[in-house]
Amino acid sequence: MEKQLVRIKVNSEYYELYIKPKKLLVEVLRDELGLTGTKRGCNTGACCACTVLLDGIAVKSCSVLAVQADGSEITTVEGLADRANLAPLQRSFLDHGAYQCGFCTSGMLMSATALLSEKLSPTKEDIRESIHGNLCRCTGYNSIIRAIAAVAEGKYKEQK
Amino acid sequence: MGYKCPVCEKTWLDTMELARHMFGTGDQAHKDWVNSKGLNFVELLLIQTMEPGNKGYKTLAELLEKEAEKVD
């Protein structure tokens, strides 16, 4: 089996990689690009800790072959902040203590980012629904829901 | 005033406490001592849960009343 050329744009950087087709997107992000902010929590596509944005939509990077992402634009948690300026969701997560061990946080932030890009004013139910797949064993979710709601309500404007 | 554990020599206020210590520790040495006195360590433990009234521990406490060295 020969390696394939994969061209991807990750957090606005372009990459050309030769990789085995069996490599999962999450493996390439973590092992080839060193973007370890994206985590893995299971082997069955059931925890969504590996959620990234692929051309703007939330996907499980453990359930996408890297070769399938060829030509796409990917955003990981490392791409959320603008240099030292944290994104509104990141600031809201801090204010609401919407994380504890932090291992699911990247995935949560990416799911929430996708939601807010799709819906301007999501309901509490929309928010619960949007992170339904993201497993968290620490927080009991409610602080995360409050954090996302606060951003949706416009409490955190982009800092420029 | 107390009772010395015949195995590890720790002192306890009364024989019930001492019995508790011996069962709680439950290592071979303590088992052997109880068995050497004609009782069955494990049987006593099981009697304790199978029959009401603290029987297992009382039986050992009674034995210790006779056997254990008293200290003041």
């Binding site: 089996m1 085995k20 069996k22 999962l24 082997n43 939330a58 070769v67 799911s111 939601l115 629904e129 | -």
Partner: protein
């Protein structure tokens, strides 16, 4: 651990059918791969060649016309179906079904074709599409054939798809007048796979006093989605009052052939089939009477 494989990307239907013909049993189709990649990771599936049709634009469409009804291309994602205004207007039950099918992430990348071809008896689209009298278009290099979804599923994770065949599209006829369709699955965790699911489609007679047509389809209640035909028969020509509802739902739970597993005993699954059937027949009936 995923075994190595040759990766073959197909950009047209023609390429795909040629590749399938060329590799036959030595290949697998991947589209969203939401089920396949898990099986491959567990070593349960290890194809020599993997044909990727994720970018097969030709098969990514949702069309509707008043005569032919609905056509959904196989590479259309669950999320695309959920968000389609066409489907929202003409088949709202499909939108509800898709919304609860799985996590957003899975729905974003997983496709309708992949879901059906996986042949999971607990899958959501199967029962609903059967209750809608849907069909699938299948092709290999030589010929095309259409199969009613009712005949598509053969056994646990087994469909009529043969070697070198590709599922091209899902077809759903126009919903007849005075008809309503309802679907629900029972689970403890929302959007989980159903422990059982039931889809009901009811058409009333012209003056809306009796049931003219009925389809009751059970999911996760046998080795494939199954119609509770006995229960359907008891319903046709009748008005589902409390007494009839009891008899119908009893019958449906008799007709189910569920498994015993860690999530539920066979007995409990039958009870759930009964509860859901009762609820959904009632719901569909009331909606059907209201609908034009």
């Amino acid at each position: 651990m995923i075994r190595n494989f040759e990766y073959l990307r197909a950009d047209t239907i023609k390429d795909t059918l040629n590749l399938l013909e060329e590799h036959k049993e030595d290949c697998k189709i991947i589209c969203g791969g939401q089920s396949l990649l898990i099986l491959m990771r567990q070593g349960l599936v290890a194809p020599k060649n993997l044909i990727d049709i994720k970018r097969l634009k030709e098969l990514n469409y949702i069309n509707f016309d008043k005569k032919g009804g609905l056509r959904i291309g196989t590479t259309t994602t669950h999320r695309e179906i959920e968000k389609s205004s066409l489907i929202k207007d003409h088949y709202p039950v499909l939108v509800d079904m898709e919304k609860n099918l799985a996590s957003v992430q899975t729905r974003n990348w997983g496709t309708i074709g992949g879901n059906l071809a996986h042949g999971d008896p607990a899958g959501d689209p199967g029962p609903v599409l059967i209750s809608l009298n849907g069909a699938v278009k299948i092709a290999n290099k030589e010929r095309e054939r259409n199969i009613p979804l009712e005949e598509f599923f053969v056994d646990y994770f087994e469909t009529v798809l043969e070697e070198a065949e590709l599922l091209l599209e899902v077809q759903v006829p126009v919903i007849p007048p005075r008809t309503a369709v309802a679907y629900e699955k029972f689970n403890i965790i929302k959007n989980d796979q159903g422990i059982v699911s039931v889809a009901v489609s009811i058409t009333t007679d012209d003056d809306g006093v009796r049931c003219k047509e009925a389809r009751i389809v059970l999911g996760a209640a046998a080795s494939t989605p199954v119609r509770a035909k006995g229960a359907e028969q008891m319903l046709i020509g009748k008005k589902p009052d409390a007494r009839i509802l009891d008899k119908i739902s009893d019958k449906a739970s008799e007709e189910a052939d569920p498994v015993d597993d860690i999530h539920a005993t066979e007995e409990y699954r039958r009870r759930l089939v009964k509860a859901l059937t009762k609820k959904l027949v009632k719901k569909a009936w009331e909606q059907a009477r209201k609908s034009p």
